[in-house]
């Protein structure tokens, strides 16, 4: 089926080329049937790429090692779910996943707009098909996932042990969904600029795609952080790695865009800004993919560098940047604002300021991420920038963003009065200041000032959001007489965008409180312990009770159990381990199991006890030095035995080798059990990190808010009102505003 997969990808490429030509021809001649045909070309790309993906995934699941990427990225001993997900651990497979997701979101957007924004769609369609040509072209020409070999190996190299983690099955598709979703509003913005239809309609039809892209990127970042925290064994969840930053930059710009488009929708303002933001977000999405695939910046997440792909990506990114700048400049007069800002002290003013800070944040992250390349270009030497430098610039800006996310919900559009400001701000400010005073009184703020400010601001934001929910529900109750719970649900149901957004603000504030607490007040130390010895940290005592070891032909793991006590009371028992996966390429029959220098791959299992106030975290780094003499002896003995067996007559060779491998497994097990029977000292990294759980809880709240804002509002059509087409004369009586009614969708109908 490999041949069929390759042919399908070539057909995808041809279909994309046809679709692009048909769409542009339809746009120029006004013949909509060509545009419709071009749209269907995108549907066909989705169908064919999905079939190709299934063919490849079946090869992974069935361990068909005649496929090169299956042999290099999977094995028969890889568990089923990881085999199914191993497809995107390879450059070629992940490109195919990207194409499938791009064509899926593009098809969905084009289907939903097939009868709308007809002057914009042909150009947007062309841009999306252009992206399809680029990525399918990369696969067809440079990264063929269906490449096969005539003599397949009996066993594959296996999935990278670090990727054998539940979150890794969802993390890459989530990030790729985020990146590809952002290309939809990018394409429609280009379409609007090319067609000259620069009102708010292109924003309306793509707003949910931008929001979904934001949500997927956020979820992807969260899953990546969780993987880093529980799998990588370095003790944190965010390290300002280039590939982490690759998703953060479009996420920040998209956050700004989601806010600023409200101003364009309502006031016809910021058209240049909004177009620039989404063009930047789309370009950064491609830059993000480039960073993952190019390996130009050192990252644990990146694929191996491929110069051919790098050149292609640089050409695409340059085209996007230059084309975007030219189009915005060309249309600058048509992009002028319909209105002016009434007052800086208004929600529009807050959004503007927040936008500037978010873009500044993205710019800082971009500059520091690419600083190694910039320094290399200037000095000839790559200079890396560590997390403290990022924190130095990012933390103050993040504090401003959090403060503004609390101010936004409690300030009205267009104008405010001092009296109303006082009334709206009194409770949230009191909560924020109360938290600050309490913390200062309890702990005495002498250091970590930014963290304390974040706690105060977190309280301010949560209080402002809670106040909004309370006041909204109270107003609804007063008018409808509903129960408090029902009023709250109905309020959110009928104003999903507003209250979903408020929940996101609260969630982000809670998450950042978790970040501030866990990074500023973390206690961490390395300890080298023998069984029975203890280490003390932040009031906890961790005693290394006993070592553990397990060995098989697939994996050797060395671990430890640690009993944790506080004040003499047992708190928990933590189990941590260090796993080694044998290399298939190395010659040393024993060393390839135990020595990373011989190609053995490693993973860490963290011992973790999570709580609302603190996480206890430990990871073992076993000293394998005492085993080296045994390993060397084993290598010598088994190498000569294997050599002798291979020289034996063919009839005896198989049985002799089989016996040797059985003895080798026994030997490896004996070596591993030495760690338990004659234990020596191992090194542990131990951490007590406060409030980490609030990072995950905050992110879940923010995700829930994003889903609420994303969920479509059902359109109600009251009896007697024709919802779509009206005739002349229907507009005449505008009902008087009735002070006793809550705004509802039906009220919108009253206007006509």
């Amino acid at each position: 089926m490999a041949g069929a997969g390759r042919v399908l990808l070539i057909l995808c490429l041809l279909s994309s080329f046809y679709g692009l030509g048909a769409s542009l021809y339809g746009a120029r001649t006004g013949q909509t049937e060509w545009v419709d045909s071009g749209r269907r070309a995108m549907y066909s790309v989705l169908g064919m790429s999905a079939i190709a993906f299934v063919i490849l995934d079946v090869a992974f699941i069935s361990s068909d090692f005649s496929y090169n990427i299956v042999a290099s990225g999977s094995s028969t001993t890889t568990p089923f779910l990881y085999r199914a997900a191993a497809i995107w651990s390879t450059q070629q497979g992940s490109l195919l996943l990207w194409v499938m997701l791009l064509s899926f979101w593009s098809s969905l957007a084009l289907f939903l707009t097939r009868r709308r924004v007809r002057e914009i769609v042909p150009y947007a369609q062309s841009v999306l098909l252009g992206f399809s040509i680029f990525f399918v072209g990369l696969i067809v020409l440079f990264a063929n996932p269906f490449a096969t070999r005539a003599n397949p190996p009996v066993e594959g190299a296996g999935l990278d042990p670090l990727l054998r983690h539940t979150t890794m099955m969802v993390h890459p598709p989530m990030l790729y969904s985020g990146f590809t979703l952002l290309l939809v509003p990018f394409a429609f913005c280009i379409g609007a600029l090319m067609s000259g239809r620069l009102g708010a309609e292109w924003i309306q039809v793509t707003r949910r795609f931008a929001l979904a892209g934001w949500l997927c990127l956020g979820l992807g970042l969260l899953l990546g952080a969780r993987w880093s925290y529980t799998e990588l064994g370095w003790g944190g969840y965010w390290e300002w790695d280039p590939v982490e930053n690759a998703a953060l930059m479009p996420f920040l710009v998209c956050t700004a865009y989601i806010h600023s488009i409200m101003i364009q929708e309502k006031r016809g303002m910021l058209k240049v800004w909004n177009a620039s933001l989404i063009l930047l977000a789309g370009t950064l999405a491609i830059v993000g993919d480039f960073l993952v695939r190019s390996g130009i910046l050192s990252s644990i997440h990146a694929f191996v560098s491929d110069p051919t792909l790098n050149v292609a990506f640089v050409v695409l990114i340059s085209t996007m940047v230059l084309g975007s700048v030219w189009l915005v400049t060309y249309r600058r007069s048509a992009l002028s604002s319909d209105h002016r800002l009434d007052s800086l002290v208004s929600r529009e003013g807050v959004f503007l300021l927040q936008n500037m800070v978010l873009v500044a944040l993205a710019a800082v992250v971009f500059w520091l991420t690419f600083f190694p390349l910039i320094s290399e270009a200037l000095t000839g030497q790559q200079t890396s920038v560590g997390p403290p430098v990022f924190a130095h610039f990012v933390v103050p800006l993040a504090l401003v963003v959090v403060a503004l996310s609390g101010i936004g919900p409690i300030i009205s559009w267009r104008r405010v009065t001092v009296a109303k400001l006082k009334r709206s701000f009194a409770f949230p400010v009191a909560v924020g200041l109360g938290i600050l005073v309490l913390l200062a009184f309890v702990s005495g703020v002498t250091q970590h000032v930014f963290a304390y400010i974040m706690f105060g601001l977190g309280g301010f934001v949560v209080a402002s959001v809670a106040q909004e929910f309370f006041r909204g529900a109270r107003a609804r109750r007063a008018m409808t007489g509903e129960s408090p719970g029902r009023a709250l649900v109905a309020l959110v149901e009928r104003n999903r965008r507003r209250y979903g957004g408020y929940l996101v603000h609260a969630g982000v504030a809670v998450a950042l409180v978790g970040v501030a607490g866990s990074t500023s007040f973390q206690h961490q130390r390395f300890a080298t312990l023998k069984p029975g010895q203890s280490v003390h940290l932040d009031g906890y005592t961790l005693r290394y009770t006993h070592p553990t070891a397990q060995a098989s032909a697939q994996k050797i793991s060395f671990g430890a159990a640690l009993a944790v006590t506080k004040g003499g009371h047992h708190v928990t028992t933590l189990h941590t381990s260090y796993g080694l996966y044998p290399s298939l390429d190395a010659l040393q029959p024993i060393g390839r199991f135990l020595n990373t220098s011989d190609g053995a791959q490693t993973e860490s299992r963290v011992g973790l006890d999570s709580g609302a106030l603190r996480d206890l975290w430990v990871v073992i780094s076993p000293n394998l030095g005492p085993l080296q003499s045994l390993v060397s002896q084993g290598d010598a003995k088994f190498s000569s035995a294997i050599l002798a067996a291979e020289r034996a007559p063919a009839a005896q060779r198989a049985s002799q080798l089989n016996t040797i491998f059985q003895l080798r497994d026994v030997f490896i097990n004996d070596v591993a059990q030495r760690f338990v029977s004659r234990p020596w000292a191992s090194t542990f990294l131990v951490e007590v990190s406060p409030l980490v759980m609030w990072l995950w809880i905050g992110a879940i709240i923010a995700g829930l808010g994003g889903l609420i804002a994303l969920w479509p509002v059902p359109r109600r059509s009251p009896a007697g009102v024709r919802p779509v087409r009206r005739r002349r004369g229907r507009l005449g009586t505008l009902p008087a505003r009735s002070p006793g009614t809550v705004p509802e969708p039906e009220r919108e109908r009253e206007l006509v």
Partner: protein, 99 residues
């Protein structure tokens, strides 16, 4: 098997893509919107949302009664203007020019 799959897919793709061209001389889709109508409908929906937001702001204590009355009045006037334009655009759409 592989050849059959490719042929079936190819036939399906050609049938799918050529569909609109085979039915090329059909009348325009009556449900479709002109660009002007789409733009005005977007403006109308945004204005409705603005009216609702202003009302919710007033009810949750962020706007004074005077400010709200002033704001609501101007927003409704703008909404009426958009609705007039929308009616006009639709009537142009329904009655072909020159008839």
């Amino acid at each position: 098997m592989a050849y059959a799959l490719v042929l079936v897919v190819l036939a399906g793709v050609i049938y799918l893509i050529s569909g609109p061209l085979r039915a090329a001389h059909r009348p325009d889709d009556p449900e479709g919107e002109t660009a002007d109508v789409a733009e005005l409908e977007a403006a109308r929906d945004a204005k409705y949302r603005e009216i609702r937001d202003a009302e919710l702001d007033a009810r949750t204590g962020k706007l004074s009664d005077e400010d709200y009355a002033d704001l609501d009045g101007s927003l409704r006037a703008e909404a009426v203007q958009i609705l007039h334009q929308l009616d006009e655009a639709r009537s142009h759409e329904e009655v072909p020019s020159g008839s």
